[in-house]
Symmetry: C2
Subunit: 339 residues, 2 copies
C-alpha cells in the first residue's frame, strides 16, 4: 500500500485549505471562534483535515506544551511481582483510577532494572524518572539515598507509605498504622485481655515504628504492660513462656511471624482464637487472618492527587503528607480470653 505517504502536517492542511499553519492550529484546537475565524474558513480547514487524514503529532505537541502529562510509577521491586500480586495490585488500581480521572497517562519504569535485578532510580547518574512529569514511588527501599537525591534535585514525587528522610521533607501518603494498632489493642483490652504481646521483626523502618508506637500507645491507654518480642524468626519456646505468663492475645507485625506463631500453638495443642487471639497487622493476601485493612486503593488515588497538586505548584507543605485510616481487623482469630 501507500506505506510511503508521509503523514500530513498542519502545513499540508494549511496549503490545501489556502490558509496559514497558524490558522489550522487555531481551528484544530477549537480556538476558532475566540480567534475570530469565520465559520466558513473553519469548515474549509476541517474539510482539508478530513481529506488528508491529518492527525496531530503528540511529540510535537508535548514538546511545545512543556508538560507531557505522563506520571511515572516506580516500584523498588518488580512492578508486577507474582507473589505479591494482591498486595501491590490494589495500589495500582487506585493509581490508575485517579490518573484516568486527571487525564494523565502512566509510565511504568521497567528498564531501570540492573544486572542484579535490583532497580534503581539513577542509572549512570541519570534520573530515569525525569521522563515523566512526576512519579509515584512504591515499595520497600532499604536505603534512603536515592530518595534524598530525588528530593534534592527537586523532582516531583509522592511516596506511598510514610517516609522520613533526614534533611528533607518528602511527600507521602501513608496508612495510619499507629492509630489502627492502638485501637486494636483497645479492642482486645475491651474483650478482657490483660496481657497482649507484640511480635515484630528487627527492621526499623517507618512502617514498623508506627505500629510499635501504636502498640505502646494502646497499652498506655488501657494501663496494660508492654510485652514486646523482637525477632525475625519466632522461637516456639517463646509461646510456652507467653502462655504460661498469661498472654492471651498477640499482635504479629507480619504474616510469616503469625504463621510461625499459629504453628507453634498447634504443636502445643492450642488454637486461635480459643486459647490465644492472633492479629496480623499486615498481610500480603486476603486469607483468613484477622488483619488491618490497608486502604490501598485510596492510597494510590491519594498519591496521584497529591502529585497533581504538587505539579500544579502547590507549595503548602502541610499538603504533602497524608495519613489514611486503616480498617480494623475482623473477628476470624479474635475472641475473648480463655474462651
Amino acid at each position: 500500500m501507500d506505506g510511503v505517504r508521509r503523514r500530513a502536517r498542519q502545513a499540508d492542511v494549511a496549503k490545501l485549505a489556502g490558509v496559514s499553519q497558524a490558522t489550522v492550529s487555531a481551528v484544530i484546537n477549537g480556538r476558532g471562534p475566540e480567534t475570530g475565524i469565520p465559520e466558513q474558513t473553519v469548515q474549509r480547514v476541517l474539510e482539508a483535515v478530513r481529506q488528508l487524514g491529518y492527525v496531530a503529532n503528540p511529540a510535537a505537541r508535548s514538546l511545545r506544551g512543556k508538560r507531557n502529562r505522563l506520571l511515572g510509577v516506580y516500584t523498588f521491586e518488580s512492578i508486577f511481582p507474582l507473589d505479591q500480586l494482591d498486595f501491590y495490585h490494589e495500589f495500582l488500581v487506585g493509581i490508575e483510577q485517579q490518573a484516568v480521572a486527571d487525564g494523565y497517562d502512566l509510565v511504568l519504569f521497567a528498564s531501570t532494572e540492573d544486572l542484579d535485578g535490583r532497580r534503581r532510580v539513577y542509572s549512570d547518574g541519570v534520573n530515569r524518572l525525569a521522563l515523566a512529569d512526576g512519579s509515584v514511588l512504591l515499595g520497600v527501599e532499604p536505603g534512603s539515598t536515592e530518595l534524598a537525591r530525588l528530593a534534592a534535585e527537586g523532582y516531583p514525587f509522592v511516596h506511598i507509605g510514610r517516609r522520613t528522610v533526614p534533611g528533607t521533607e518528602i511527600a507521602w501518603v501513608g496508612a495510619d498504622y499507629a492509630s489502627a494498632t492502638r485501637d486494636t489493642v483497645g479492642r482486645l483490652a475491651a474483650l478482657g485481655h490483660r496481657r497482649i504481646a507484640y511480635v515484630t521483626g528487627p527492621d526499623r523502618m517507618e512502617v514498623f515504628l508506627d505500629k510499635e508506637a501504636g502498640y505502646r500507645a494502646g497499652c498506655a491507654d488501657v494501663g496494660l504492660p508492654e510485652l514486646m518480642y523482637v525477632t525475625s524468626q519466632l522461637d516456639p519456646a517463646w509461646v510456652d513462656a507467653a502462655h504460661a505468663g498469661g498472654v492471651t492475645a498477640v499482635l504479629a507485625e507480619n504474616e510469616p511471624l503469625a504463621r510461625q506463631l499459629v504453628a507453634a500453638l498447634g504443636e502445643r495443642g492450642l488454637s486461635a482464637p480459643a486459647d490465644m487471639s492472633v492479629v496480623v497487622l499486615v498481610t500480603m493476601t486476603e486469607s483468613g487472618w484477622s488483619s488491618l485493612r490497608i486502604p490501598r486503593n485510596e492510597m494510590g488515588r491519594g498519591a496521584v492527587k497529591m502529585l497533581t497538586r504538587i505539579l500544579a505548584g502547590s507549595d503548602d507543605p502541610g499538603d504533602h503528607q497524608q495519613l489514611l485510616p486503616c480498617g480494623l481487623p475482623e473477628d476470624h482469630m479474635i475472641g475473648p480470653p480463655g474462651a
Copy 2:
C-alpha cells in the same frame, strides 16, 4: 519556590561543560568515539550531565525522528480492573518481563477514557498511542474501526488475541483455542463420552469462532455429532433435554454459562463430573474448574517480542501472527461418563 525546577537541557549541559550542544548530543548518544571526541571531553560532558541531572526529553527525541524506547500498553477496558485481576494481570506480567529484557519502558494509556468511561485510541482525531514507539493492545473491543484506522496509519502495534480485520493484516499473538478445544473433545471421547455438547454465547468474535471450529473439528475427528447450544443465558430446561438425550459432557465457552449449567444440574440432583463432565474453556479466575490454561504470560512476552521485531523493521508478514499452545483442562470436573 522552585517547587518544580526547570529541567536541564542539552544546552545547559553544553554551557557547563564548555562545549556545544551538538557535542553533548553526540556524547549522550554514544557517538563519541565515532565522532572522534576525546575521552577527556566525553568525561567532562558526562560529569556535567550528572551534575545537572540531565535526562533527554522524549518528546523532543521522538519529534526529531528517533525512538523513545517507550512501548504502549492499551486495553479497551480499565487496565487494572478489579474483577478481572487474575485475567489481565498475567498478560501484564509477561509484557513487563519482556519489556525489561529489551530495555523498554511501558506507558499505560489511561487518559484515553472519555466521558462515557469508554476508552478510545483516538480522541479529538489524535492517535494518543503515537507517543509510544509501538503498542500492545489488549482486551475486547467490539468494533474494529479503531484497529483498522491504526493499521491504515501504519502505527506499529500487536494485538493480544487473534484478530482479523478485513482489508488489513494486523499483527497478533493468540492462544490456540482451536487445537486445545479439539484435543479436549478428543480426550472426552477417549474417556467414553459419545455425546458432547457445546454451549457458547451469541458473540461472533474470533476467539469464539476459534473455539467453535475446534469443537467441530474435534467432533469430526472422533465421528461424534455436533451439539451446539448458542445462548447468552443458559435455560435450565436445556439441561433436561441434554441429559435425556444422552449428553454426558459439556464444553462451556465461558464461566457464567458453566456456572449456570452447574446450578441447573444441582437443582436436578445431578453433579459434575459424576453425571456430567463440565469443561469451561475460559475462566477469569483460577477457581476449581476444568478449564483451558491460556498461556497469558507467554502471550504478553510474545507480543512485546513481536512488537520489537516490527519496530526493528521486520517486514516478513508471516512473522506477525503467532499462535501459542493452551494447556489442556485438569480433571476437576472431568470423568468417564456415568461414573
